[in-house]
């Protein structure tokens, strides 16, 4: 990628971070944290977006960011009070800014009316006068686009004046420049020599140094500047170009620039370029070297006489050019080094450089690593895990005693492998924050659209989960939040009637539980109207009219395909997808989702996903001579069925009685079509599994081999989805084993029992 494009990519990446900071800062302000640190951070975020945008000439973005920044600046300086109303405007401005960034990134455009309306609002906030000033200030900032230019620059050291091409054309003009630095110039680390060097780049120079003011040594004052230069510059450049050379020092020197009319009358005699040695200005050099502040008491009297003494042997009194002068100056400063005693007043000033009452702690040391590299590492560790398992199996097969050194060594290797795997997975783990932080905006927009008042409370944003999972969280969370606002919360009027606070609360939480990540979305709305849900389900033929359902089961009917409770199709539900689609996508990830609710009090979605989509804890089983893996997360218990516990309903459908309940018995080998003849339950092992929504079933398999962590391999990468199979893995013998999609097996078997679906019957 060309460096310019790569920096642009960096800019947009950084914008994302800045927008995140901006939003969390604004949300903090909304919560009442209006300290200067927070406000400053908010300002800085917009400021940086604008700064970068300026460099890339992203006009629309600059314009909007500029107004936004101005508003924030006024808040920062206390001229605007950050009331709740103001913060609300800022939050919306934040959304529009995000749109502008997005538009700039995709070369698209923003919704113009929205942006314009927002600008108006901000300008009203800023006030007419300041806004008018903005109009002027806004544009002159875009003068320089940052365009990559291939540059050839002389080595930063001794830029020889000789290399500057002497202007010869008719455009050449002769300038007389008088330049007398004040001590302040040296205090700021500017150097006369460098200014002269730069000047020499403009054309050919003749330099005359006037050291007349240099006092006798014993009267030298370090903080004084004694030298004065007169330069005759022949150049085709104009005065502005010359002034630019003096840009940094203009206020700290006496400077006159005049154009010589004849161009020949500078001096009759060839100028004596370098003064006699004893007229040189060691004080100025000394001051320059030590950076002696005016406050620094370093009287020349204390300085040893050496600084003046070293007569640079190479320095020839005649014919010395600017570069020679610089070289001499450098030599002199080097020799003067011993005199550069630290000024006594430097110490307190140094203390002042400590961070000012900042609450921000230093960020933990981090490095940025290309994700590809991490992925490669994770893949390699996956192979390591498989290889280690293969090796272990071979050792067991070889009949070595468990206490043998090899077997013990292998055990250690296994522990180590596990540890490496965990560490590597931790590298890729990320806090769910990156997903959560997108939600406040969604909630604001949903609230606007439905006319409801919503407060979003987020918890557990720092809960970490593997990157593979992070990416998949966004969609289900979006849908759960929309559902909670659209269907869960009442209108402000209704809430008032119910005696509830007008503003509804939606809580989004992440937590680790049982080796999985759990995402909860709860609201304090009306809860699920079970009667209505039931009626809809019956009317749509989703359940039988006389079906007996628990409250939980009724609540979870909303996940059935083709179910929608919205009385009117609102904008939200209209463009959204049904909860059945959400559920399907969650299931596909090995996740579960369910809802529970309390009438009048609210509902709670609960979704759990594995912490990673890279490895899985599974139970390795055998069925119909196939080795299969059942995800441990689905398994409740395993048991050996007794013949009298198994009951057949009709021809082939069996149930098993476990304690007091009957659960469907699924012969895995037959369900997957590996075998036609039914398995004799009494000779087999049953694994009680729980599917989404709490549905239970018993999987009948030939035998259980044991528990193992397996590396998940996609079937879809090279093939396609296979019903009843979640993914594949590679076992210790090097062969591929299939990972069962327990939920699909259970659901399909249930459907099979209904007359509608006969596909499963073998």
């Amino acid at each position: 990628m060309d460096p310019f494009e790569s920096i642009k990519a960096t800019f947009f990446q950084e914008c994302e971070e800045l927008l995140t900071d901006l939003e969390s800062g604004l949300l903090a302000m909304e919560r009442g944290e209006k300290d200067s640190e927070t406000i400053n951070a908010v300002f800085r975020a917009v400021h940086s977006v604008k700064g970068g945008a300026g460099a890339f000439g992203l006009e629309e973005l600059i314009r909007f960011a500029h107004v936004f920044e101005t508003a924030l600046d006024l808040i920062r300086s206390g001229k605007i009070e950050p009331t709740d109303e103001v913060v609300k405007i800022l939050l919306r401005a934040n959304d529009v800014l995000a749109d502008h960034v997005q538009a700039a990134r995709s070369d698209g455009s923003v919704e113009h009316s929205r942006s314009a309306a927002m600008l108006d609002e901000l300008q009203t906030l800023i006030g007419a006068e300041a806004a008018a000033a903005l109009e002027d200030g806004g544009d002159d900032e875009d003068d320089f686009g940052f365009t990559p230019v291939q540059m050839v620059v002389e080595d930063g050291g001794e830029a020889p004046a000789a290399e500057a091409e002497p202007p010869t054309g008719p455009g050449a003009r002769v300038w007389r420049i008088e330049f007398q630095p004040k001590p302040e110039m040296y205090v700021k680390a500017n150097e006369a020599g460098l200014v002269l060097r730069e000047l020499a780049r403009l054309g050919s120079t003749e330099v005359d140094v006037d050291g007349a003011e240099v006092p006798p040594l014993d009267q030298l004052m370090a903080e004084h500047a004694y030298l004065r230069w007169t330069i005759k510059l022949t150049t085709d450049q104009d005065e502005a170009a010359i002034r630019e050379v003096f840009e940094f020092v203009e206020d700290d020197c006496v400077l006159t620039i005049t154009e010589e009319t004849g161009g020949e009358t500078f001096e009759d005699e060839p100028p004596a370029v370098v003064p006699p040695q004893d007229e040189f200005d060691p004080a100025a050099l000394l001051a320059r070297l030590t950076g002696a502040a005016p406050a620094a008491e370093a009287p020349a009297a204390e300085a040893p006489p050496e600084p003046a003494a070293p007569a640079p042997p190479a320095a020839e009194p005649e014919g010395m050019d600017v570069a020679g002068l610089i070289a001499m100056a450098q030599k002199a400063t080097t020799d003067a080094e011993p005199a550069a005693e630290p000024a006594p007043k430097a110490a307190p000033a140094a203390a002042a450089s400590a961070p000012p009452s900042s609450t921000a702690s230093a960020p933990a040391a981090t490095i940025r690593v290309d994700l590809d590299r991490v992925d490669r590492l994770i893949n390699a560790v996956g192979e390591l895990v498989i290889q280690q398992a293969m090796l272990s199996q071979r050792v067991i097969e070889s009949g070595l005693a468990r206490s043998s050194a090899v077997a013990l060594g292998l055990e250690d290797l296994e522990l180590l492998t596990r540890e490496i795997q965990d560490s590597v997975m931790a590298i890729r783990a990320q806090p769910v924050k990156s997903v959560f932080q997108r939600m406040p905006r969604l909630v604001r927009e949903c609230a606007d659209m439905t006319g409801k008042k919503v407060r979003l409370v987020m918890e557990g944003e720092n809960t970490e989960v593997d990157k593979t999972v992070i990416e998949r969280l966004s969609d289900p969370i979006t849908h759960m939040l929309r559902n909670a606002i659209d269907h869960g919360l009442e209108t402000p009027a209704d809430r008032e009637m119910e005696g509830k606070p007008v503003e509804g609360t939606v809580r989004l939480a992440a937590l680790h539980r049982g080796g999985r990540i759990v995402i909860e979305v709860s609201d304090d709305g009306r809860g699920i109207n079970r009667e209505r849900v039931r009626n809809i389900a019956v009317s749509k033929g989703l359940i039988a009219e006389d079906a007996v359902l628990t409250e939980d089961e009724t609540d979870n009917l909303i996940f059935l395909p083709g179910f929608s409770t919205a009385e009117t199709i609102s904008d939200l539900s209209g463009r959204g997808v049904g909860m059945d689609v959400v559920k399907r996508s969650v299931l596909a990830l090995g996740g579960r989702i369910s809802i529970s609710s309390e009438p009048g009090k609210g509902s709670k979605f609960s979704m759990s996903l594995p912490l990673t989509l890279a490895v899985l804890d599974g139970m390795v089983v055998t069925s119909a001579e196939q080795t299969l893996v059942a995800p441990l997360s689905n398994i409740v218990e395993s048991l050996t069925p007794k013949a009298e516990e198994v009951h057949y309903i009709g021809g082939q459908d069996a149930v098993i009685r476990i304690r007091d309940t009957f659960v469907p018995l699924i012969d895995v080998g037959r369900a997957l079509g590996f075998r036609d003849t039914p398995l004799n339950a009494a000779d087999s092992v049953a694994i009680l599994v729980e599917s989404e929504g709490g549905g239970k079933a018993a999987l009948l398999v030939d035998a259980i081999q044991g528990q193992r962590q397996v590396v998940i391999k996609s079937l879809e990468a090279n093939y396609q989805h296979v019903e009843g199979v979640a993914a594949a893995t590679i076992l210790g013998d090097g062969r591929v084993a299939l990972i069962l999609d327990v939920d699909a097996l259970v659901t399909t078997s249930r459907r099979k029992s209904a007359p509608r679906e006969k596909r499963m019957a073998v």
Binding site: I7, F144, A343, A346, P356
Partner: protein, 121 residues
């Protein structure tokens, strides 16, 4: 000898831009993300020129200038401040604190390198 420029800016974009232009021009570039880190790096690694942003968390550009000038080893190290606005007040305040020069953002790489050369021996 290759000159080392220490760039202090909380914006990664800005840091990369500075680096790109300066490295192309033959400078060695060290980056710091805020004033505190900047002063730490200057202390441990040194630099021939310091370029600092003004608005930064933890320690702003004025703090950087004061910190650099207070250090006897770096009292003569040139400091260029990045100002977004052609804000006279900020520039003047930076000058008073001891800034050697300034670069107005958004900058053009040629101007940037010019400015660095004008202060770096």
């Amino acid at each position: 000898m290759t000159k080392t420029v220490l760039t202090i800016d909380d914006s990664r974009t800005m840091r990369e831009m500075l680096s790109m232009a300066l490295v192309q021009a033959g400078y060695r570039v060290i980056q710091a993300v805020d004033g505190v880190e900047g002063l730490e790096i200057l202390k441990s690694e040194g630099a021939d020129v310091v370029i600092t942003d003004i608005n930064m968390p933890r320690l702003d550009g004025f703090g950087v200038i004061e910190g650099v000038r207070a250090n006897p080893d770096h009292r003569a190290t040139p400091i260029l401040v990045l100002t977004t606005e052609s804000d006279v007040a900020k520039k003047e305040r930076a000058r008073q604190a001891g800034a050697t020069g300034w670069i107005v953002k958004p900058f053009n790489p040629v101007k940037l390198v010019d400015a660095v050369r004008r202060v770096a021996a």
